[in-house]
Symmetry: C2
Subunit: 209 residues, 2 copies
C-alpha cells in the first residue's frame, strides 16, 4: 500500500500546487483517489474513465483530483505507479551494489504481475496503451521515464537509458505472452524459473559493457 504522504514529491504531480492542501483534506483523500483511479482504469479502460468518475468513486470533489494529480493522463500515470511502488521498490532493486541487480529486477517485476491486486490494473494499462495514444503517452512520459530513469541514473554503463529500456522491453514482452496472450508453456511456468532465465539477461544489459 502507498500511504500517499510516504512518497517523496515526484515531478509533475504537485507542480505549482500548495502542499499544505494535503493537511486540510488529509493524506487519506489522496490515497483514496489513487486507489479509485486504479480501479476505474482497470474496470473501464482508459477511454471510459473520467476524472469525475474517479472523484465519485473516491468520494471527493473532482477539483481535488485535479488538484493532486492534474490531467487524466497524470492520474493514469500515478495509478500505474501505485502498482509499481517505485519509491519503495527502487532502492531495494538497486541495492548496495550491481551484483544480483538482474535477479532483483526480474523478481520484483514478476512479483508485481503475479499479485492479482496489481495485475488487473496493469493489464488494463497495457491494453489502453496499445490502443490509445494518450495512455501510451502516460506510460512513456511518466512511468517509463520515472521508473526506468531512476534505475538508469544509477548505472555505470554507456547508453544506460537504452539498456534500461531493453531490460524493460523483455519484461513487458513476458507480461504480454504470459498474462495477456497466455502462451504455453510460458503462461504456466513457475515464476522462479522465469526469473532464473531472465536475470542474467537483465544483468548483462544493466551492468556489462
Amino acid at each position: 500500500m502507498t500511504t500517499g504522504d510516504g512518497t517523496p514529491s515526484t515531478g509533475p504531480r504537485r507542480r505549482g500546487r500548495p502542499s499544505r492542501a494535503e493537511s486540510t483534506t488529509g493524506p487519506d483523500a489522496r490515497t483514496r483517489i489513487l486507489e479509485a483511479a486504479r480501479n476505474e482504469f482497470a474496470q473501464r479502460g482508459y477511454d471510459k474513465t473520467s476524472i469525475r468518475g474517479i472523484a465519485k468513486a473516491a468520494d471527493v470533489d473532482a477539483a481535488l483530483v485535479h488538484h493532486y494529480f492534474g490531467t487524466k493522463d497524470e492520474v493514469f500515470a500515478a495509478a500505474v505507479e501505485l502498482s509499481f511502488e517505485p519509491a519503495l521498490a527502487i532502492p531495494d532493486i538497486l541495492g548496495s551494489s550491481t551484483e544480483g541487480l538482474g535477479e532483483r529486477l526480474a523478481g520484483y517485476f514478476i512479483e508485481v504481475w503475479e499479485n492479482p491486486v496489481s495485475r488487473a490494473p496493469l493489464l488494463a494499462v497495457m491494453r489502453s496503451a496499445m490502443t490509445h495514444e494518450a495512455a501510451a503517452k502516460g506510460l512513456r512520459v511518466f512511468v517509463l521515464r520515472r521508473l526506468l530513469g531512476r534505475i538508469a541514473d544509477q548505472l555505470d554503463v554507456p547508453d544506460a537509458a537504452f539498456r534500461a529500456e531493453l531490460a524493460a522491453s523483455h519484461m513487458v514482452g513476458i507480461a504480454v505472452l504470459r498474462y495477456v496472450i497466455q502462451a504455453e508453456p510460458l503462461a504456466s511456468a513457475p515464476p522462479e524459473k522465469i526469473v532464473a532465465m531472465v536475470a542474467p539477461t537483465l544483468q548483462r544489459y544493466l551492468t556489462e559493457e
Copy 2:
C-alpha cells in the same frame, strides 16, 4: 511476397479440403484473399473485420475465404503469418548450425517490423490480441505454435518451447516499446544497435544450457 502455392501445406488451413480446388480458382485468389485479410485486419482491427468484408476486398465469394482458411480466427492467423513468411524465413533463420542463430532471429524480427508493409498489420494484430480473446487465441494457437514450434523443434536444449517463448517475449516487448509506446531512446535506436544487444540474449536462450 507469398506466392500462395509456394507454402507447404501447414496444419489447419487446408484440413479436409481438396487441394485441387486451388487449380480451379488459381493460386492468385488465395493470395488476394490473404492480402485483403491483412489489409482489413490492419485497417479495421480484429473486431470489425468480417469474412464477407475480406471476400469483397479480394473480389471473391465469401465461401472461397472459408474454403481456403476456415474461420475468421484462422484467416487472422494466416494473415499474420503472411508478414512473417515462416516458410521462407525459418530455414534461413535456422541455417546450417546454431552459430549466429540469435543474430539471425533478431535481425529477421527487426526487419519484419521495420518494413512498413508488414508493420501496419502487425501493430493491428498486437492491438487486437491485447483486447480480444479470439485474436489472442489466433496468435497463441497458430502463430506462436507454428512459428516458434518450428524453431523449438530444431533446438537441442531442455525446455526448448519455453526458451523459444522467452526469446519471442523479448522481441514482442521490443516491438511494444519501440513501435507502439515509442519510448525513447529505444524508438529511435538504429536497428543494428538493437540486434547487436539482443542477439546474445536470444543465442543464450536458444542454445545454451
